[in-house]
């Protein structure tokens, strides 16, 4: 009888010892604006190397979509949006830990065209020309880069003439892909997005007063199940190693 039970008991003891030996693993779910895709992946890799018991699970997308996911109960610990608007909404709805909200990064908005610039575009105002048929921007109502694009059009008074040419994308990286494919004549993205692609060319910068408004706030979500781990991760984002990575991709730290 005992000899029959022995393998089972041995198996149970083995499992208990393995599980018992592992350090308690923590997962930090980060929802971040699509423009942070490459930079944040690298920052996460460094963070996990320095903190082996932490797993960072990133979720990239349009800031408006990410905000909606959080509002609907998605298990997010840290949120980084590409504009203050989405963070403001969550703050008003009391969904973030107020004292954890800080401005992390700043960025610039640029006008891009396919690499060979077949239509010879050199400025935002060139977009009203008849030879420009399709312009890709993020959906202004939910994508920060699209919102900034709309501000630029409003500032130059060209919103009405461009209205029928706009192809709206769900996030800024989709705008980049559209321009890379050559299926649209121009697009508006962040400088950092244009920098990672060799298939597009930057032809104009947004006016200074609009660039000055671009900011990436970060905050810990109130419903987070790992607030301490989330705060530790957020603190790392402001550290020198993360700063080096962000600046490599063309971001600048906010406030400094």
């Amino acid at each position: 009888m005992f000899t029959k039970l022995l393998p089972l008991v041995a198996a149970i003891l083995l499992i208990i010892s393995i599980v018992g030996c592992a350090a308690p693993a923590v997962t930090v779910n980060v929802s971040a604006a699509a423009s942070l895709t490459d930079a944040l992946k690298e920052v996460n890799k460094l963070y996990v190397e320095a903190n082996p018991n932490v797993t960072v699970t990133p979720n990239f997308g349009g800031s408006g979509t990410l905000q909606k996911q959080i509002e609907n109960g998605a298990p997010v610990d840290v949120f980084i949006s590409a504009a203050a608007a989405q963070m403001d909404t969550l703050q008003k709805e009391k969904m973030i830990i107020d004292d954890s909200r800080q401005d992390l990064l700043i960025n610039k908005v640029v006008l891009i065209v396919p690499a060979n610039n077949p239509l010879n575009i050199s400025d935002f105002k060139d977009l009203v020309s008849d030879k420009v048929v399709k312009i890709a921007i993020g959906d202004p109502k939910s994508v920060p880069a699209g919102m900034y694009a709309q501000h630029i059009f409003d500032k130059y008074g060209i919103s009405d003439s461009l209205k029928s040419k706009l192809v709206l994308a769900g996030d800024v990286r989709q705008v980049l892909t559209y321009v890379e494919s050559g299926n649209v004549d121009a697009g508006i993205v962040f400088l950092t997005d244009a920098m990672i692609s060799s298939k597009v060319k930057i032809v104009a910068n947004a006016p200074d007063d609009i660039n000055a408004k671009v900011v990436y706030p970060v905050a810990v979500i109130k419903a987070s199940k790992n607030v301490d781990a989330a705060r530790a991760y957020e603190k790392y984002l402001f550290g020198s190693q993360a700063k080096a990575v962000f600046e490599k991709y063309g971001f600048n730290m906010a406030g400094k």
Binding site: G64, K141, G182
Partner: protein, 235 residues
């Protein structure tokens, strides 16, 4: 305000009606051809024609984009003519037609194969040409199945999202069909817009189901002697 709410409806109606007309004729033609085709490539051709039904819509969309995009064969041909379909209204029709074609094709073929061949053969012995046989005998007898195919492909075209978004993009007022408008309305937090469009789709869908049910009743009616008499009429 009403313009924003209703624009996707007009775009969807135009797209779906155009696509259904195309798939109606293309599906019947393909079914007629395949019903008589007994060559070795039958399974292969059949598989290709049914493929859009089983592939994920995004895969269909990607395929269409690669075909009609700037570097694709059809796209390059079109750019020689000075046009492009990517991110334009015709792209919504192409996407809707491609995904709903298999439904029309399958239903039409099934309906044609169920028509008793002795009616067609009797007509042939009386000297009727193939076209005449098709229009006056085969098609009327297969009508409930063919109509069901049309209704199903209409419904599929109405609900098409993935392939449409990839090929036609989201251009409010031009290519934003109802499903695309609903998706982006939810992203924008515009729940009123989303719910109104959902309501419209529900009404249309229920109407389609009702039409299908009516057809189902028609199918159950026995073939009357009057039909046999008619096929023997010689002009």
């Amino acid at each position: 305000m009403t313009e924003t709410y209703l624009s996707p409806l007009w775009i969807s109606l135009a797209t779906v009606l155009t696509a259904t007309v195309i798939t109606f004729f293309a599906g019947i033609a393909a079914a007629r051809w395949m019903a008589g085709y007994t060559g070795r490539l039958r399974s292969l051709v059949d598989g290709i024609l049914i493929l859009p039904l089983v592939l994920p819509p995004t895969v269909v969309g990607l395929g269409l984009l690669m075909l009609f995009g700037k570097n694709g064969p059809a796209g390059q041909l079109l750019s020689l003519l000075g046009t492009s379909v990517v991110f334009s209204w015709p792209a919504t029709v192409i996407a809707a037609a491609v995904v709903s074609f298999p439904l029309m094709y399958l239903n039409a073929r099934g309906a044609f194969e169920q028509v008793e061949t002795h009616y067609e053969d009797a007509a042939r012995t009386l000297g009727a040409g193939e076209w005449r046989i098709f229009w006056t005998i085969t098609l009327p007898l297969a009508w409930p199945g063919v109509a069901a195919g049309a209704i199903l492909s209409f419904a599929r075209a109405l609900g098409e999202f993935g392939a449409t978004l990839m090929l036609a993009g989201n251009i409010p007022g031009k290519t934003a069909t109802i499903p695309i408008a609903i998706y982006f309305a939810v992203q924008d937090g515009d729940m009123d817009q989303a719910l109104i469009l959902v309501l419209i789709v529900l009404v249309i869908s229920f109407a389609s189901l009702a039409a299908l049910a009516l057809l189902g009743n028609l199918n159950k009616r026995p073939v009357r002697a009057g039909v046999i008499v008619q096929t023997f009429k010689v002009d």
